[in-house]
Symmetry: C2
Subunit: 202 residues, 2 copies
DNA sequence: AATTTTACTGAATATATATACAGTATAAAT
DNA sequence: ATTTATACTGTATATATATTCAGTAAAATT
């Protein structure tokens, strides 16, 4: 979809906000009032631009006849589920995506970017079992004690994070597994994100 | 909320359908067209009746200024979260409800009735930790190996279910806890439901 | 260098729309 | 028995609203 200008984005935001607030779309005059325009034609032309770029549809002749396009309306988005394969990075590349599941805002306390399908039992004492879906927020800002998605070359794992200086410890929650020691500057080492929630489908 | 007449229900349904179809509420004339009325005042009076009964609000002077009330709009339903208190049944009585969280259809494989907030670690080896939310489907039809919500008098617990004949075993997933043996016909024993999923909010 | 797009003001207008008023008739509530 | 609510038709109208036309000016594209 074609990119919007800053001003067009403002108008689109204004429409969304107005619908959320009132339950019905704004008139040209309403948009002018909200954004400080002095002519209804300012709103009109922006609306036609948004229509041309596919963000809204306009029912000609109808009052408040603005309809947000499917892509535009943030109804219930979907979140990708990514398999935790031993070899291969958990990127959002299409070939790694197992499926999409409907996403509900405020499902967890923090927002997140994708679900990781857990393989193995290395985190079982943390209550993370095989086939669980762990909600991952993409970030490299993690604290000691966080459960993180760490990549070492092509290997991806879910572990407790513990650092002191340049030394990083990746700690499993299972006595049958060993801790991993690694240096911050090690080539091929990267923190993909951290766990902010979990779903078990049974 | 006050009951609606058949005709008023038709009008309300018409409004909902119109919004779903077009993205904005209908005019009086639109309602007349949909329902075969010949006077805009027919729609007008029905709208005022719906307003009076609290199903919609009307912004006076605004075109299409109809807004569905919170109860009326079937946005995303909410599911109650119930605390697993040692004494006290996990019924859906108001005093037991901790909060409501937004519900997304097909979040789990099966549908469910409420979330149970887990206290204690008696099921930790099953990956069920303190404060987890276990999705419970109300049913007494459970199979061996199911994780069930069992009530014994006023005590409510989450355990593995195992039965042979009249003998029932409630098995914890933690060596520090003991199995519970009980008879099917025991007074005060009841299977409230079974677990069909889990959410951890971190 | 010429054209298109963006980003408006300002005025004018046809029409879409809410809404009031005048009736008619039946059912329900007080 | 009387009032109120339901369920409309039919007419009328003030105004809310979309939309066109005439401009101005800067930025982006071709």
């Amino acid at each position: 979809m074609k990119e919007l200008t800053i001003q067009q984005k403002k108008v689109l935001q204004c429409i969304k906000f107005y619908i959320k607030k009132t339950g019905f779309p704004p008139t040209r005059a309403d948009i002018c009032r909200e954004l400080g325009f002095k002519s209804p034609n300012a709103a009109e032309s922006h609306l036609r631009a948004l229509e041309k770029k596919g963000y809204i549809t306009i029912e000609n002749g109808a009052s408040r006849g603005i309809n947000l396009t499917e892509n535009t309306a943030e109804k219930s988005q979907t979140i990708p589920v990514i398999g935790l394969v031993a070899a291969g990075s958990p990127t959002l590349a299409d070939e790694n995506i197992e499926k999409h599941i409907p996403y509900q805002e405020s499902l967890f306390l923090s927002d997140f970017d994708y679900f990781l399908r857990v393989k193995g039992l290395s985190m079982k004492d943390a209550g993370i079992m095989e086939d669980d879906l762990v909600a991952i927020k993409k970030t490299s800002e993690v604290r000691n004690g966080d459960i993180v998605v760490a990549r070492i070359d092509d290997e991806v794992t879910l572990k407790y994070f513990q650092s002191s200086g340049n030394q990083i410890k990746l700690i499993p929650a299972n006595d049958d597994f060993d801790e991993i020691y690694i240096n911050k500057e090690t080539e091929g080492f990267f923190i993909e994100g951290k766990s902010v929630g979990l779903i078990r489908e049974n």
